[in-house]
């Protein structure tokens, strides 16, 4: 028999939890939902546009009746649950229905806080919380009538704006002297007030309500200072209080809200709670993003999977008033330990403030120009060290030197529909916006899947995110704090790397099984990542899974658009000989190679080879002493050099010798993404070492080591790691750096974004400041190299490895089908 799960509350948090639960375990529970309102589940955050007339109630329904039926969920609409009997595991509704549960989910949300002034129960006094409130307001809201909104916070201003749109004369009364003091500092609040006044709202600031006037119906409001104004409608929007009546009745532990732990469990292990009624680590949450995060974790535990934890949310706010751009997040007031970066342009109505502590963003307020809100929010949540970009931070992400994006191209909202956003896949703005609207896309991933925009090189990601924000307004949910590896799992890269090590998982099926993958053999995104993580964690022990390698790494050559392959042998340190060149020329002729090209990494590329010819080509290359250059792999690629002190009159050190030593030492190593190095013989830097993953620049006294450079999609100049004196130290630091990157970066993350994520200071702490740690990483690298340094070409050319890759199936004797009886 199925266990019985009852969800009290038919709102966004409760139903989201049920949705997440059904995704995980469709048949575990017999589910019953009780909702006090006579409606199906709707999107409460969109009540504001309903009030202002931009949406209808039908537009904001999230789950139709059919959804409940399809999932065998019993829905009791219009039933308020009045008591829980925890001993009998029973609940009772106000309509006398008694139901048993095995598990109970409380998602009772919150109630608007009604100030207990005389007259607060008069008809015409409403909160702003549900469809009924909106209906009441819309009935009164007629051209020219007067409304008083008590409360100048987020909710109050949205209500006031909605009523204004309906043609009412609206006065907002606020106890404080600045609007939205929970979300805004004084400067931004002043700009907001100014803008709203221009739209026609009247404000009474620092004003306290004394009484609501009227006999059978609201007629006016009187304030403590004696002022009286007339009113046909009074909206109380001074705040919300968690609805904890049931917890009180059932003696379930509560403080301001129902207290839950990191698994969203209350003090009664059979009872879980999510949403606005919950108090988690002393915090209450009233915005939708944290509720959804809670729902996900709660579902995981209701499904008895028991591995995920809710650790609280960082939240950002956007005011849902069309035409007013306002964004705030985190601690924007700051304290004695914080700095403020401020940009003000009052005549343009622009104000930006970032609160910084230890070179990390702690809070942000943006008014008038909020395009970079999601970027600042991301930097804040990821705790990114911003020291390198501190002086340009306020000018936004677009000013940080993405190659190919000029200033005029940074605001997607201003572009015409025909402007190309994604240059890789040729997708223009109109196509993306249409897809977002017509196909109900909510996330960056959705857009990538449907339009391919930003799905290739990713450099237009910020523009696509802008279009999402612009098209969906506040509905666009930022990429979640913890981004799963792929659709097969809820786990992040970091989780997976950790669990593989902690649990000593040594095969892809073991990871998929242990971590409850949604698909038994994963997908093309997660399998290569898992293969890499396992290889990195258990060198020599893990059996590489060829079928989880992308084709290039599986056959050790680069697939081309026509299905042929290119082959790039290793040219150690970019140094070659006449013999090698002669051999390459002979091979190119023998196999009729259509294109021979020098690569950017000082090597030679033979393009257009047939797959079945590869082993023979490799055999010939091996005979000339040439081995795989791994130009096809997420692996150590080239070590580019300049001629250095051997020949150059400016050279200070022997850069070619250093380069060859480095390449001989590091080749064969698999890395999260490709890894390129260069050695320059003097600071003129002819080998362009400062745009490499690991770059070495010779100076008179030794070697400068630079890390995290990139010359690709987004040009990034390296950070200086440190200076060392000897070649041995160069090798040691290089190995330690590669190993740290191998162990801690995410699969397909180049060193540049990795270093921007963790900060160069962290890398210095691990490698420069901590000699023991450096030594340890160095030894890990050496151990890993013992298993890695085998030429894969030789294995396939002469040692019989993976021959099936390079041969066709033999077509045998054809035979007439037995079932098919002849002429």
């Amino acid at each position: 028999m199925k266990e019985k799960l009852i969800c009290i509350g038919n709102g966004m948090a409760g139903i989201r939890t049920i949705e997440e639960l059904i995704k995980l375990v469709p048949d575990k529970y017999e589910i019953t939902v009780f909702g006090a309102e006579p409606y199906v589940n709707y999107n409460r955050i969109l009540l504001s546009p309903v009030l202002s007339g931009e949406n209808t109630i039908d537009d904001i329904i999230l789950n139709e009746e059919q959804w409940y039926q399809d999932n065998d969920i019993t829905l009791h609409k219009g039933h308020t649950v009045v008591s829980i009997d925890r001993g009998r595991r029973q609940i009772q509704s106000d309509k006398g229905l008694t139901t048993n549960y095995d598990r109970l989910l409380l998602a009772t949300g919150s109630n608007p806080f009604i100030i207990q002034v005389p007259g607060h129960t008069l008809p015409g006094v409403v909160g702003f919380r549900n469809i009924e409130d909106v209906d009441t307001m819309l009935k009164v809201a007629i051209e020219g009538k007067k409304a008083v909104v008590i409360g100048g916070g987020l909710l109050g201003l949205e209500a006031a704006n909605g009523l204004l749109q309906q043609g009412m004369q609206v006065t907002v009364v606020h106890l404080h002297d600045t609007l939205m003091e929970q979300q805004l500092d004084e400067a931004a609040a002043a700009l907001l007030k100014n803008a709203l006044e221009k739209r026609g709202l009247t404000f009474l600031m620092a004003t306290e309500t004394a009484a609501i006037l009227g006999e059978n119906q609201v007629t006016g409001v009187r304030f403590k200072d004696g002022l009286e104004i007339s009113a046909d409608l009074v909206v109380m929007a001074v705040g919300i209080r968690p609805n904890i009546a049931l917890a009180q009745q059932a003696s379930l532990y509560y403080e301001r809200g129902i207290v839950v732990n990191d698994t969203l469990q209350t003090f009664d292990p059979r009872i879980y709670a999510v949403g606005e009624c919950v108090q988690h680590r002393k915090q209450l949450y009233g915005l939708v993003a944290p509720l959804f995060e809670q729902a996900k974790v709660c579902a995981n535990h209701l499904a008895s999977l028991g591995y995920s934890r809710y650790e609280g949310s960082t939240i950002s706010t956007k005011l849902k008033v069309t035409g007013i751009d306002l964004f705030s997040a985190g601690d924007f007031h700051g304290n004695k330990n914080t700095d403020e970066l401020v940009f003000q342009d009052p005549s343009q109505g622009i104000y930006k403030k970032l609160v910084i502590e230890d070179n990390r963003i702690k809070g942000a307020v943006l008014y008038g120009d909020t395009l970079d809100g999601s970027w600042y929010f991301q930097l804040m949540r990821d705790n990114v060290d911003i020291s390198a970009q501190r002086d340009r931070l306020l000018f936004g992400q677009a000013h940080l030197g993405d190659s190919g994006y000029s200033d005029s191209q940074t605001s997607a909202t201003l572009m015409s529909d025909a402007t190309e956003i994604c240059g890789c896949n040729g997708v223009c703005k109109g196509t993306i916006v249409n897809a977002i609207i017509e196909k109900n896309l909510f996330t960056l991933e959705d857009v990538r899947l449907h339009t391919k925009a930003s799905g290739s090189c990713g450099s237009c990601t910020a523009l696509v995110e802008q279009l999402l924000t612009f098209t969906l307004g506040s509905e666009y949910s930022d990429s979640p704090k913890t981004k799963p590896l792929c659709g097969c799992t809820e786990y992040t890269h970091d989780d997976i790397q950790r669990v593989i090590r902690e649990q000593h998982l040594t095969s892809i099926p073991a990871v998929i099984h242990f971590m409850n993958w949604k698909k038994p053999d994963g997908c093309h995104v997660c399998r290569p990542a898992l293969n890499y993580y396992l290889l990195c964690a258990w060198p020599g022990e893990y059996q590489d899974d060829a079928q989880s390698r992308f084709i290039n790494e599986r056959v050790h050559a680069n697939i081309q658009k026509d299905g042929t392959y290119s082959v790039v042998p290793r040219i150690w340190g970019g140094m070659t000989t006449p013999q090698e060149l002669r051999a390459l020329a002979d091979i190119a002729e023998k196999f009729q190679v259509p294109t021979v090209k020098f690569t950017g990494g000082q090597r030679i590329d033979l393009l257009g080879l047939k797959k079945q010819d590869l082993p023979a080509v490799w055999r010939d290359l091996n005979q000339a002493g040439l081995v795989s250059g791994h130009a096809y792999g997420k692996a150590l690629r080239t070590v580019k050099t300049c001629v250095g002190s051997e020949w150059c009159r400016f050279g200070t050190q022997n850069s070619t010798e250093m380069g060859i030593k480095l390449e001989k030492f590091t080749w064969g190593s698999w890395t999260p993404h490709k890894f390129k190095m260069a050695v320059s013989g003097c600071p003129r830097n002819c080998s362009e070492a400062t745009i490499k993953d690991f770059g070495i620049v010779a100076i008179e006294s030794g070697w400068e080591l630079h890390v995290g450079g990139n010359g690709g999609i987004k040009v990034r100049v390296t950070d200086l790691l440190c200076k060392v004196e000897s070649q041995e130290e160069v090798l040691e630091y290089c190995a330690a750096f590669i190993q740290l990157y191998r162990e801690e970066a995410h699969y397909l993350e180049r060193t540049a974004p990795w270093i921007e994520r963790v900060g160069v200071t962290y890398v210095q702490e691990r490698i420069v400041d901590d000699a023991d740690n450096r030594q340890q990483l160095y030894e890990h690298f050496l151990a890993s190299q013992q298993a890695a340094q085998k030429d894969p070409w030789q294995e396939r050319a002469t040692e019989g490895v993976a021959q099936h890759e390079f041969t066709f199936l033999n077509v045998g004797t054809s035979q007439s089908s037995a079932t098919d009886g002849g002429a």
Binding site: K439, L449, H450, K519, P520, D521, G522, C523, H524, R527, P528, A546, Q547, S548, F550, I551, R554, V555, I559, K561, D562, G563, H804, F808, L809, N810, V811, G812, T813, S814, Q815, S816, S817, A818, D820, G822, A823
Partner: protein, 103 residues
């Protein structure tokens, strides 16, 4: 009259892998999934003619190596939101695991 051609044994194809057979109608890719089902489709992705045989196999799906179009091997259709389809061929696996392609 249909022709049944013997093209080898199931074990000639690695699990979650594929092999190619050359025919007068062009290359045909044979896939073996984790549950040992064998599928045959034309070795040309409907998107830009990529060799599907080189893709990563997961479930009863293969992802094209060129631009990640996913193709359902059961019906030859691209997995939504992608569009397109590829010609399918019938493979018979006998009790001993021998593979026969119907042309």
């Amino acid at each position: 009259m249909e022709n049944r051609i013997h093209i080898g044994h199931r074990n000639d194809i690695p699990r979650l892998g594929s092999r190619v057979v050359q025919t007068e109608q062009g290359e045909i890719a044979l896939f073996r999934t984790a549950d040992d089902a064998v599928f045959a489709v034309a070795n040309r992705c409907p998107h830009k003619n990529g060799p599907l045989s080189e893709g990563i196999v997961h479930g009863h799906t293969v992802t094209c190596p060129l631009h990640n179009l996913r193709l359902n091997l059961e019906n030859g259709q691209a997995v939504a939101p992608d569009e397109g389809c590829v010609e399918q061929f019938t493979v018979h696996v006998d009790a001993k695991g021998q593979l026969f392609l119907t042309m």
